[in-house]
């Protein structure tokens, strides 16, 4: 079996509860693989632990159980190999747009000359269309522009893995659309491995190679890995005309509306019975249902 670029093994997160001695299991037994250059979106309802998974990948949080291996090395703490784009842009307000990117570039390549760092930072700011606003402070930028600086900063350090936590959640619909397309453009140039959390089904279909679906917590699971079988380059304007679009979209929405809850109840019953929660997502291709793999395939293999 070929090893993935990013391997998540038996990941679990449990938190102590204020009014009980028992730990609250947010998610458990998550097995995942992500290939190099893949764009993967994670969708799930609030409270299922999406952000915790992302923080673990970023090295900003430590899981209760399990580990994450990236490029044959275990992720144990934050490093410049993992770039993060947070929901609320998180720029340093006393630095200009350029200096915010420079700050990251200098951390990544401390030995570069100032000119080289400057050229590098400006290259990425230009990529996100901020040629004219590089000297402005975050307070002088619109919400969309700030998020673009955040994107430029994350891409500029050229991380092995780019993590995005609902990067466009705080933007209005128009701006979101524009920046999504810019993100696609940059991604098609750099082919970063991207792991992104979103609430927006259409955004996931537009951007991702694969969408991971999480059931509701507690005892949440990454239940399905849905292939987005729509060729690239994709465009927002024409995406919905593709024959697979509605099949995929219906599948995703159906999961979020109905099955996320049902499967969560199953998972809680299983947990009460003490079954092994370790699981791999079922691979699904709504465009070609025959290709979809049977559930629990890996569990069966392991039992043999």
């Amino acid at each position: 079996m070929s090893k993935g670029f990013l391997e998540i093994e038996n990941l679990s997160q449990r938190f102590p509860q204020p009014d009980s001695d028992d730990l609250m299991t947010v998610f458990e037994g998550v097995d995942l693989e992500i290939q190099k250059g893949e764009f993967v979106c994670l969708i799930g309802h609030s409270g299922c632990g999406k952000s915790t998974i992302l923080n673990v990948l970023a090295g900003l949080a430590t899981p209760t159980d399990g580990n994450v291996i990236m490029d044959n090395k275990e992720i144990k703490g934050p490093s410049l190999e993992q770039g993060v784009i947070f929901q609320n842009h998180s720029l340093l307000p006393w630095l200009s747009a350029r200096d915010n990117v420079m700050f990251a570039v200098r951390a990544r390549w401390p030995n570069w000359s100032k000119q080289k760092r400057l050229d590098h930072a400006e290259k990425y700011l230009k990529m996100v269309g901020l040629d004219h606003a590089m000297d402005r402070k975050p307070s002088q930028l619109s919400g969309g522009m700030r998020q673009r600086v955040g994107i430029a900063r994350a891409f500029a350090i050229e991380p092995k893995l780019l993590l995005m936590d609902e990067p466009f959640g705080a933007l209005d619909a128009l701006t979101r659309g524009v920046i999504q397309e810019e993100l696609l453009k940059i991604w098609s140039e750099t082919h970063q491995t991207v792991f992104m959390i979103t609430h927006d089904v259409d955004e996931a279909i537009l951007l991702a190679d694969r969408v991971l679906l999480m059931t509701n917590g507690p005892h949440a699971k990454v239940a399905e890995s849905v292939k987005i079988d729509i060729p690239r380059p994709r465009e927002r304007a024409t995406l919905h005309q593709h024959e697979s679009y509605y099949k995929i979209r219906n599948h995703l929405v159906d999961f979020l509306v109905h099955r996320a809850k049902d499967m969560s109840q199953e998972a809680q019953q299983e947990a009460a019975q003490g079954l092994d929660p370790r699981h791999q997502p079922r691979h699904v291709n709504p465009a070609k249902p025959s290709e979809s793999a049977a559930p629990q395939e890996r569990a069966a293999i392991r039992a043999v």
Binding site: L60, P78, F86, N88, L92, F103
Partner: protein, 279 residues
């Protein structure tokens, strides 16, 4: 010819004037209201002087009025006698503030960062803060070998509280997100302090220093009434003893001017280090 052409003919001379006119307008805007304020203060001063001069009981103090005072002020400046007391006073304030900053800023960072420390220090610090620095005078004189040392101690103990608490306030306002960004970029604790905490709290620290400068400058004069034979406080006391009221008032003027200048420097520093944190 049409109107545009005539206007173009008029323009060259006028055009050359435009930058000057714009500058003059800017100066006017910046100066007009402060001028009114200063004029008001002078009027009040002049009126007070006039009242004193026309009252038989107070006639002896007539040289407090603007005329004699400004003459004495000019004497002090032109003879150079004004610099020595200023130098001594600034020396004491400078060292006092130095110690207050050197102790107050780290203390403020710790109090802002560790909630427990804030709770532990709250009662004792508020208690100490409310004691007039001058109340420490007898102890300071015993504890320090020189008068200078005692005065520097008094200034430092007065200036330390606003600096400490403004710094602590600044640390508490740090957005956890900025620290997250730092650690994501691999910043160690020293980097975090240097590149995130320090710039984030700079404007609060300078605001604290501004308050501290005000307090220090106020404490300085009464502290110099005692013991020492130099400085602005001493100069005032000396002028009183020798009945030179115009000179006394001139030193009051000097204290006000220097105090204003120190404050203006602090305002500059606050402005330079300030940023607008948006949500």
């Amino acid at each position: 010819m049409n109107r545009e052409a005539t206007m173009n003919e008029l323009n060259p001379a006028l055009e050359r004037m435009i930058p000057f006119l714009r500058l003059a307008d800017q100066v006017r805007r910046r100066v007009q209201y402060p001028t009114v304020g200063i004029a008001g203060l002078f009027a009040l001063w002049w009126w007070g002087g006039w009242l004193i001069a026309n009252n038989e009981d107070t006639m002896a103090f007539a040289s407090f009025a603007p005329g004699p005072t400004l003459a004495a002020f000019w004497d002090l400046v032109s003879s150079g006698n004004v610099w020595k007391p200023i130098e001594s006073s600034l020396y004491r304030v400078g060292w006092g503030l130095f110690y207050a900053i050197a102790i107050g800023v780290p203390m403020g960072v710790m109090i802002g960062y560790f909630l427990t420390l804030k709770q532990i220090t709250h009662v004792p610090f508020q208690f100490l803060r409310m004691i007039s620095p001058l109340a420490w005078m007898p102890i300071a004189v015993l504890a320090f070998a020189t008068w200078d040392g005692a005065i520097i101690f008094l200034i430092a103990i007065a200036a330390i509280w606003p600096i400490t608490y403004a710094t602590a306030h600044g640390v508490q306002r740090i957005d956890p997100m900025w620290l997250k960004v730092g650690s994501n970029l691999g910043a160690n604790p020293i980097h975090t302090l240097r590149y995130i905490v320090m710039p984030a709290i700079a404007q609060d620290v300078f605001a604290g220093i501004r308050l501290a400068v005000g307090v220090a400058w106020i404490v300085l004069v009464p502290a110099e009434y005692l013991g020492v034979t130099s400085g602005l406080g001493y100069a005032i006391n000396d002028a009183r003893d020798t009945l030179e009221y115009d000179k006394l008032a001139a030193f009051v003027l000097v204290i006000g001017i220097i105090g204003y200048m120190l404050d203006a420097i602090c305002v500059r520093l606050i402005k330079r280090s300030s940023y607008h944190a948006e949500s």
